[in-house]
């Protein structure tokens, strides 16, 4: 289930070594259960940043190199698989 969310083929059940590694790491991180964190705030971000805004004007960028990287394109548009299937 989890590997489906992560958009990886179902690796854990197919790969014994990965399964073993994964459970040993999970066991290890369970160590955190010992720590008392009542009344402790979370730290998600350490930056001293403030919101930065740019002027709301179009920025001309050179897209040639980005277009170059695209696996398939038509008239400078990226070609992708269809998102909706016929039954949808």
């Amino acid at each position: 289930m989890i590997s489906k969310i992560a958009k990886l083929a179902n690796l854990i059940s197919e790969n014994k070594k990965m399964e073993k590694d994964f459970s040993s790491i999970l066991d290890y991180v369970n160590k955190l259960k010992e720590v008392d964190v009542s009344n402790v705030e979370e730290t998600a971000n350490l930056s001293c940043s403030i919101n930065v805004f740019r002027k709301d004007i179009e920025e001309k960028k050179d897209n040639a190199l980005i277009l170059e990287l695209m696996p398939e394109k038509r008239n400078n548009y990226l070609v992708v698989n269809e998102v909706f299937e016929e039954n949808d």
Partner: protein, 473 residues
């Protein structure tokens, strides 16, 4: 013959030495660059530090640098040959991040650090563990790198290619990135200097993200003075990275107060490393420093905390690799199949393991138990440091608990591999600056010590580290 001798000597220069020779026109940047390209040609067959050597770009930059020097427009880094870890973008140059996913990826723009170093000469891109996930360079999708001090051993990781390139005189300095120790541990293993700056001190724009709240770019150099020169060149606020800032703090130091955390000298630390680091601390004491035994009580939880937060952030950051806009490896019948095929084939095992771990710890049923809990433990780790820094100016301990291990020795034991970062991860969780410098050898293998300072006090870090280095040399 004179010319040949000159070529041999050029590659072991420091930045300052090379700069004064360039200034006095003893040799040109083109000659210097050619000496390094020859050195790489001869030496990198056995070390394998470089993934890409950018000969054409290097010579073009060297010519431009020589023009500037001729006009008297040079600064300290003009024409200095360096190497860049292959997770930082140089426009028009391949950038793989050590992954098959980006085997054919050509950077469409320059990272901010590259813009800032544009008067240097870029010799090439160095090897790393895939997406900077690893401690040995063995997770590179391309090849392993050897430690120049002992070819059978790993150079450390993830910036192992950069460390090995500096240690084997294949560049004057290199850039690395550090998420949990990826600059300091390889610097320690290869016997060089490595600085992880304060979080926010250096822009991350153009660095391929691993864990955005932990990643920092920093210098890997032959001595402390060079690390300071490079740090001053790359630091500063950048409008392309909202977490960057211009802060620099100073603390007046009359008598240096050094904190020695008892938790950093416990079980699992190699005896020779313990002895070398304690000798270095005694050296400071003999030279007038005050030594305080301190405690960082949450140290034992730092690695577990890191292995929740870093994979969680990585699972989100690496969601962008889907093979659609770039990096196509495989096709698929449906869109979902396309994602699955590309991601399964594009990522290596270690990366997949961490993506799955991070997806798990962020998933609805486990978010509170793992991710949220880890963020709270992170606060406690940060507070441990804040309390200690009320009393001391710097914390000194070992960089790594073990000496460089043999290639292949730990690949079947991921936890043992992770433990080699036990003294470095806390520093990233707390966002502090830390430097690893050599402090001895055991059977010819380098030993490193880590100096940690309060946030934005890199200046004090350099000052205190230099006291040890200058007197010893």
């Amino acid at each position: 013959m004179r010319c040949l001798k000159k070529m041999i000597d050029l590659t072991n220069l420091t930045i300052k030495q090379a700069h004064s020779s360039l200034k006095e026109k003893r040799f040109s940047s083109v000659e210097l660059t050619q000496a390094f390209l020859n050195r790489i040609d001869e030496k990198d067959k056995e070390i394998k530090a470089y993934l890409t050597v950018t000969t054409e770009l290097a010579l073009k930059q060297a010519k431009a640098a020589d023009e500037k020097i001729k006009k008297g427009e040079m600064d300290i880094l003009t024409g200095i040959p360096c190497a860049i870890k292959d997770n930082m973008m140089i426009k028009n140059i391949k950038c793989t991040a050590g992954s098959k996913f980006l085997e054919n990826y050509i950077s469409p723009y320059n990272a901010t650090v590259i813009e800032k170093l544009k008067d240097c000469v870029f010799l090439g891109k160095t090897n790393l563990d895939e997406f900077a996930m690893g401690s040995s360079c063995e997770n590179s999708a391309y090849f392993s790198t050897s430690n120049p001090r002992d070819l059978e051993r790993v150079p450390g990781g993830s910036s192992g290619g950069s460390a090995a390139a500096v240690a084997s005189d294949q560049c004057i300095f290199a850039l690395g990135s550090d998420t949990g120790g990826s600059i300091r541990q390889p610097a320690c293993f290869c016997g060089i200097t490595g600085l992880k700056p304060t979080y926010g001190a250096v822009s991350r724009y153009g660095l391929i993200a691993f864990a955005s709240s932990l990643d920092q770019i920093g210098p890997m150099t032959k001595n402390i003075e060079d690390a300071e020169i490079v740090f001053n060149a790359i630091k500063g606020i950048d409008k392309m990275d909202s977490t960057s800032c211009d802060e620099a703090r100073n603390r007046e130091i009359n008598k240096i107060k050094i904190g020695v955390p008892k938790e950093y000298f416990g079980k699992g630390l190699d005896f020779e490393i313990e002895k070398a680091v304690k000798d270095a601390i005694s050296f400071y004491e003999k030279n007038g420093a005050e030594i305080h035994e301190i405690s960082l009580p949450h140290t034992e939880y730092a690695l577990a905390c890191y292995y929740i937060i870093a994979p969680s952030e990585a699972s989100a950051n690496l969601a962008r690799f889907d093979g659609i806009r770039y990096g196509k490896i495989s096709s698929g019948e449906s869109l979902i199949d396309y994602y699955l095929q590309n991601r399964t084939k594009g990522f290596g095992d270690e990366v997949k393991k961490r993506i799955i771990l991070g997806t798990y710890t962020l998933s609805a049923g486990y978010y509170d138990e793992y991710y949220k809990k880890a963020l709270k433990v992170r606060t406690l780790i940060k507070q441990d440091f804040e309390k200690v820094f009320e009393k001391v100016d710097v914390i000194i301990g070992p960089t790594s608990p073990c000496l460089p291990f043999k290639i292949g020795e730990l690949v079947d034991d991921p936890l043992a591999m992770y433990l080699s970062d036990i003294y470095t991860v806390s520093v990233n969780l707390a966002g502090l600056p830390a430097i690893s410098i050599p402090c001895g050898k055991s059977n010819g293998l380098p030993i490193g010590m880590q100096l940690i300072a309060p946030a934005f006090m890199e200046n004090n870090l350099f000052k205190i580290a230099k006291l040890y280095d200058n007197t010893r040399n």
